[in-house]
Amino acid sequence: MGLRERIFGAPKASAPSSDDLFDEAFLARLELLQVIARRLFRGRQRAERKTRKVGSGIEFADHRPYSPGDDIRNLDWNVYVRLRRTLIRLFEEDEDLPIRVVVDVSDSMCLGGGAKLRYAQQVGAALAYVGLANLDRVGLTCMSQESHVTLPAIRGKGRIFRVFDFLKSAQTGGATDIRAGCGRVAAQSNQPGLTIVLSDFYDLEGAFEGLNMLRFRKHEPVAIQIIDPAEADPTGSGLRGDVRLLDCEGDTQRDVTLSPRALASYAEAHERFCAQLQTNCRTRGIGYVRANIDIPFDDLVLRMFRQGGILR
């Protein structure tokens, strides 16, 4: 696909299928990964992720005095023999991690043949598979100004096909509205968790505010900015002269004269915008990864996410 086609007027993307998303070898490697949450979230079901909760795990955590009603099987008889005190052994509780993958399905993601959207869906599906493989509860949300659909949290990697179906059937289009989308995600989730937002964040005002809103609602947001290099730096596109710029997400149009200097200015402004978003995220402890769609998808997941502290 050429740069121009990726920028201008290409048909909208279709959702990926499982066949063209992953192969068996890639899935096997994904199963070795685990989504990292910097904070401990309270889960609902037992799983493989440590929590603050002391319960029926198998890893010893602490003792407490026996109180009536405690399961006598947890009484530490060794301590009783040595100290003549009745102490109950406490074990760490392994729970699942609430993970929500939020995919931006706005028109800006669909522009240029939908390469960015496709890339975001692939990344989201991969992250979801990682979570499902670790018995985490994984939910998905596709958001734009016009559409906001949610896949309730699911468990078990056998449900990965529901993820695929959800991504495939999700309605696309509409303007980018990160703040509203994230606000709805925060409002709908009654249990905070790791929230991964996949978007180009082409929202000058609301990009960071949406992420910050998640943070206020005790979520741990992670921003993965999907960037098409041709959009970020159009100096090599050959675009020159008097043109009418049409906003793909609205009726806004602007007559401009494009010169190499103007294109370079846009590239610089785009870079400044991304850098500003990254700075804002870092200063507030929000994970941030810039994902160029030129980078092979598996390289992003297997290498860059691990380097960025999203997976391990």
Partner: protein, 652 residues
């Protein structure tokens, strides 16, 4: 500049309508290309900075509008078929006749640059011809005719200026007089009937009478405009007008050379005449010549071993010598071929054999039979047959016959008078060359025969008044000695070998040994025998000039025609016949004082003022095609630039 297509008003209307349409289209809002972008807000922020350049963008569009109007103006101008004033005039057909006579090699009088030779008249004429050609319009045509000894066409009738200029560049002055009459006749035929027929004659005015008459006829011709442009200059010239070398008739091993030098200029001058033979100087004479004076110089008693002579003039002031072509002349002396003598004898006269054998290398003596059919090829046939009879037919060559009338039925052409017993030789013609140093007195003779002379016959020796030694001179000499040497004591006398030597010398002096040089330019017939080449059986000869170019000429009746255009020594080679491969040389000299005269005669002709050619027309701005093609080319170039900048996104 004017328009030969649409009128100016029509062009104005066309430009107004089309220009208005372009302007309306220009004023209409330019449809911009639509580009969908994903992040319009960021684009807006960036492009907000470029609003300050909006004025320049408008100016750029204004420039684009001007370009469109300029293109339209060019196309409209091309439709109008613009023409310069040089092209608007009626077409012309010009015959440019360039005088290429030898005098055109003379100085033109133009100041010479430092370290350069003075400009020749031919250069000035060629420059004028080139200027005339460059001034031709697209409808004009011209032909360039060269008037040398022979008339030639340097460039045929054409409108191709480059071809015409190339033809002019090839013109060089010849070494003879110009055939101006022939050139003007050809020029008239070339342009007659064509539009704007004109003949332009470029000459120095140094023409002969025939040329002047032809010039007058051309100017008087009503149908063709005939103009003369004169390129003359200083007329100082000293020329060698004659040069020849010959053997002395009485001493063939010696030569004398004659050179004639003439001062054709207007002032006295001193020159040096130097004659070289085969590259060796044999004479050097300083000459001071008054204007018009002719001086002949003779160099005597030169060694005949030299065969090529060259005369050359030199002077301290080279300007007095004029052009070079007449400062040098050549002469060739035919080689001295041996005299072939046939002796027909019974072998009993040893005195005669000894006398002939003592004559030297220049005599080739052969013993022959009386019936030999090739006797005519000998220069001299001596019959001393004794008791044998003469052949029935005598050969057609020089004859000397001893005792021709021993028998009555002799074919000897001088008739018999009577037989004489013991004749006494009483008288002899002492001054006759045959009897030089020879005394017949007291010669004892046993028997003899006197001759019956006819008018024209000479009696060299008489016996009591009757001729006993007789000579007849027609085409060949016939000498009759009316007694047999064997029956006399004449062979034993000192007079006998002297008589034989005189006989051979006498025959030698009648054979060819001198030829004048051939004149330059004229086609003339030369006898092969005069050049010392036997013409028998020869039908072709090859003539090779000093520049080495061979020409084959037919031979008829022992003569061939030769036209030499370059002075020098020409080699004539026999291509067939018994003498195949034999070569002789011929000197060709200018030797024409008329060709060397650099004075213009046009002033004496009183030509009308309209016959004088003015300056050359101004060069046409373009040499190929009308101006509208150039305008269209410029428009195409402008479109190309516009196209390139459009696709480079420079003008849009």
């Amino acid at each position: 500049m004017s328009f030969s297509g649409w009128s100016l008003s029509q062009l104005g209307v066309l430009f107004g309508v089309c220009g208005g349409a372009i302007t309306v289209l220009y004023l209409l809002r330019m449809r911009r290309r639509k580009v969908v972008v994903p992040f319009a807000a960021l684009w807006e922020r960036v492009t907000r900075d470029s609003e300050s350049r909006k004025i320049w963008r408008r100016l750029r569009r204004l420039l684009s509008w001007f370009v469109q109007l300029l293109l339209l103006a060019m196309i409209v101008a091309a439709i109008g078929d613009p023409r310069t004033n040089a092209w608007v005039r009626d077409p012309m057909t010009v015959a440019i006749v360039v005088d290429a006579s030898a005098s055109m090699a003379g100085p033109s009088g133009a100041p010479a640059e430092d370290d350069e030779e003075p400009s020749r008249r031919m250069e000035a004429a060629k420059a004028r011809a080139a200027a005339q050609v460059r001034g031709l319009g697209p409808s004009d045509r011209a032909v360039v005719i060269v008037a040398a000894e022979e008339v030639s066409v340097a460039s045929p009738l054409s409108g191709d200026i480059s071809a015409l200029l190339a033809g002019i560049e090839t013109i060089e002055p010849s070494h003879g007089e110009a055939n101006l009459g022939g050139a003007l006749t050809l020029a008239g035929h070339a342009v007659r009937g064509n539009p704007g027929a004109q003949v332009l004659i470029l000459t120095d005015g140094a023409v002969n009478v025939a040329g002047a008459d032809a010039l007058r006829r051309c100017i008087d011709d009503e149908a063709i405009r005939c103009e003369v442009d004169t390129h003359t200059g200083p007329a100082d010239n000293i020329a060698i007008t004659a040069f020849a070398a010959r053997r002395y008739p009485e001493a063939r091993d010696k030569l004398e050379v004659l050179a004639e030098v003439q001062n054709l200029g207007d002032a006295a001058a001193t020159v040096t005449l130097e004659v070289t033979a085969d590259g060796v100087s044999v004479g050097r004479r300083p000459l001071t010549l008054a204007p018009g004076e002719t001086r002949r110089e003779v160099l005597s008693d030169l060694d005949a071993a030299r065969s090529r002579f060259e005369a050359r003039l030199s002077a301290e002031d080279a300007a007095v010598l004029g052009p070079d072509f007449d400062d040098i002349a050549f002469a060739v002396v035919p080689p001295l071929s041996p005299l072939r003598v046939a002796l027909i004898s019974d072998g009993s006269n040893l005195f005669l054999d000894a006398a002939l054998l003592n004559l030297g290398d220049h005599v080739q003596l052969d013993a022959a039979e009386a019936t030999d059919p090739d006797l005519a090829e000998y220069n001299l046939v001596i019959f001393d047959v004794g008791n044998n009879a003469l052949p029935a037919t005598l050969p057609q060559t020089h004859l000397a016959v001893f005792d021709p009338w021993r028998f009555e039925d002799s074919p000897f052409p001088i008739g018999k008078a009577k037989d004489v017993a013991r004749p006494f030789l009483t008288e002899q013609a002492r001054k006759h060359p045959l009897l030089e140093f020879v005394v017949f007195k007291d010669v004892n003779i046993g028997r003899g025969t006197t001759f019956a002379l006819q008018p024209g016959d000479d009696a060299l020796v008489r016996s009591l008044g009757d001729p006993i030694v007789a000579l007849r001179e027609d085409e060949y000499i016939t000498l009759g000695i009316g007694f047999d040497p064997r029956q006399s004591d004449f062979p034993m006398r000192i007079a006998f070998p002297l008589f034989i030597d005189n006989l051979v010398r006498y025959v030698e002096q009648r054979t060819p040994g001198f030829v004048a040089s051939a004149p330059l330019g004229l086609s003339q017939a030369l006898g092969l025998a005069d050049l010392g080449l036997s013409p028998e059986g020869m039908s072709r000869v090859e003539v090779r000039g000093p520049q080495g170019e061979p020409q084959t000429r037919p031979v008829e009746r022992g003569r061939f025609r030769m036209r030499a255009l370059v002075p020098g020594i020409y080699t004539v080679s026999a291509l067939d016949g018994p003498a195949t491969g034999a070569q002789v040389e011929v000197a060709v000299n200018q030797a024409n004082s008329g060709a060397s005269d650099l004075h213009s005669v046009l002033g004496e002709m009183d030509l009308p003022a309209e016959a004088s050619a003015g300056s050359a027309p101004d060069p046409a701005p373009l040499t190929e095609g009308p101006l509208w093609t150039a305008v269209m080319l410029a428009a195409a170039a402008l479109i190309a630039i516009e196209w390139a900048t459009y696709h480079r996104r420079v003008t849009v």
